[in-house]
Each structure stands twice: as structure tokens, then as C-alpha cells.
């Protein structure tokens, strides 16, 4: 199963901007991001706190729709999903 993970802004600088993650089907969204982020400690620490929870400012979109962060642990990714992980927006 392939899932596309996109990191933006400082997250992208630390972890890469566009990653295809292969994983077993039915994996939880937070586990997948944790696994991918583990390759760079600074990148991991930017997204997760010391308890392994998402930092409160982290925003996640699944296929272009923003997730309620309370659901991030429950959501199971599906083949072909595009997951975006980013800090607060600052456009305009």
C-alpha cells in the first residue's frame, strides 16, 4: 500500500517535501507519520512532543481535507491517500 506524505515549510526542510511511504494496510495515521518522521530527530521533534503526541499547532490534511487532530490516532490510511503535515499557515 502506498501513501503520499507531504511536509511543508520547516517540516519539509527537515523531513523532505514529498515522500511515498509503503506500509501495511490499515496502519494508523499518526503511526505512519511518526515512522516517516523518525529518520530525522529535529524533524520528529518539530512535529511530536516528548510524549509522542502531535504538537498542538500541527495541522494535518488527508486528501485536501483538514483533520480534526483528535481523530489523527483513529484514522487509518488507505492506499493512494495523500497526507499533508504542516505548521500554521502564513500566507497573504
Amino acid at each position: 500500500m502506498n501513501v503520499r506524505i507531504r511536509f511543508f515549510a520547516q517540516f519539509g526542510e527537515l523531513l523532505g517535501t514529498d515522500i511515498i511511504a509503503e506500509s501495511s494496510s490499515g496502519v494508523a495515521l499518526d503511526s505512519l507519520i511518526k515512522e516517516v518522521a523518525s529518520k530525522n530527530k529535529e524533524g520528529y521533534d518539530a512535529i511530536f512532543d516528548e510524549h509522542g503526541s502531535f504538537r498542538e499547532f500541527v495541522i494535518i490534511m488527508r486528501n485536501g481535507k483538514r483533520l480534526d487532530m483528535a481523530d489523527a490516532k483513529k484514522v487509518r490510511v488507505a492506499d493512494g491517500d495523500e497526507i499533508a503535515v504542516f505548521p500554521p499557515v502564513a500566507g497573504g
Binding site: 520547516q10 499547532f57 485536501g64 504542516f86 505548521p87 500554521p88 502564513a90 500566507g91 497573504g92
Partner: protein, 142 residues
């Protein structure tokens, strides 16, 4: 025109094109790279989603504020001091609607469109914190 793009835009032409039947007032907002001891700014967007969000914001603004036309052009890539970052042009029958619609659009962009700015300085750079980043540490109006 609603666009997320690297190229600059001819604001004069946007204004001319915004003059539709019933237009009595046009308000333009132009957000510019400010010289806060920076050399350049690099702007990154989650393009597909940002474009959809801008289109949604334009529709909302039209309905809520009775606008006749809306253009939103947000630029990405490297921009030097003085360059246009964001240009919005709205037309309406009356000035109250045009000002309110213009303001609605910029606030909606600041609040929710996936775009980020990095200020490039002599000693590296820093990502501009979002205004609506609850818990995101320092906040700064841009």
C-alpha cells in the same frame, strides 16, 4: 482570476477587467515584501489545496458582500523586497461592500490557506509564524 503562481500580475489590467455592469467601487489590496532586514522571501504553497481554498474564499466573499468580481493572485517562489506577494481586486456596486469584501478575503487567506513564507536573511532565514497559529509560539502581524 484566482491563481497561485510565480509570475507577477498587471494590476492595472485586473482593475480594468473588474469593471462590470453595476460596478461603482473597486478595492485593491497589494501585499508587498517588506524590508524587515531581509534580502528576499521564499513562499511555499500546498498549491492544489491553496488554489481550491482561494476559489472557495472568492465565492464566499461574493455571496457575503455582494461583490461583482473577485481576483486573487498569490505568488510563490523567491521574491525580493518590494515585490507583490498577494494581489486581490474586488468590484461592487458601492464602496462599503467593496471594502468589506476585500477585508474578508485577506483575513480568510491569513486564517486558512496553506501557504508559508520564509524570510531569507544574511544569516540564513526564518519561517514567518502564522497569525492564527494557536500554540505556535510567537505571533507577528505581516
Amino acid at each position: 482570476m484566482i491563481a497561485v503562481r510565480t509570475d507577477d500580475i498587471d494590476i492595472g489590467k485586473l482593475i480594468s477587467d473588474a469593471k462590470q455592469r453595476g460596478t461603482g467601487a473597486i478595492v485593491v489590496f497589494d501585499g508587498v515584501v517588506r524590508d524587515d532586514d531581509i534580502k528576499e522571501m521564499n513562499i511555499e504553497a500546498y498549491e492544489e489545496v491553496a488554489l481550491k481554498e482561494l476559489e472557495r474564499i472568492a465565492q464566499d466573499a461574493k455571496q457575503k458582500h455582494n461583490l461583482l468580481s473577485v481576483d486573487i493572485i498569490h505568488r510563490t517562489g523567491r521574491l525580493v523586497v518590494g515585490e507583490n506577494i498577494l494581489v486581490t481586486v474586488v468590484s461592487a456596486g458601492h464602496r462599503e461592500e467593496a471594502y468589506a469584501g476585500s477585508r474578508f478575503i485577506i483575513e480568510a487567506i491569513k486564517a486558512g490557506v496553506p501557504i508559508w513564507k520564509k524570510e531569507l536573511t544574511n544569516d540564513g532565514g526564518r519561517w514567518v509564524p502564522g497569525e492564527h497559529g494557536h500554540g505556535a509560539g510567537s505571533r507577528k502581524h505581516k
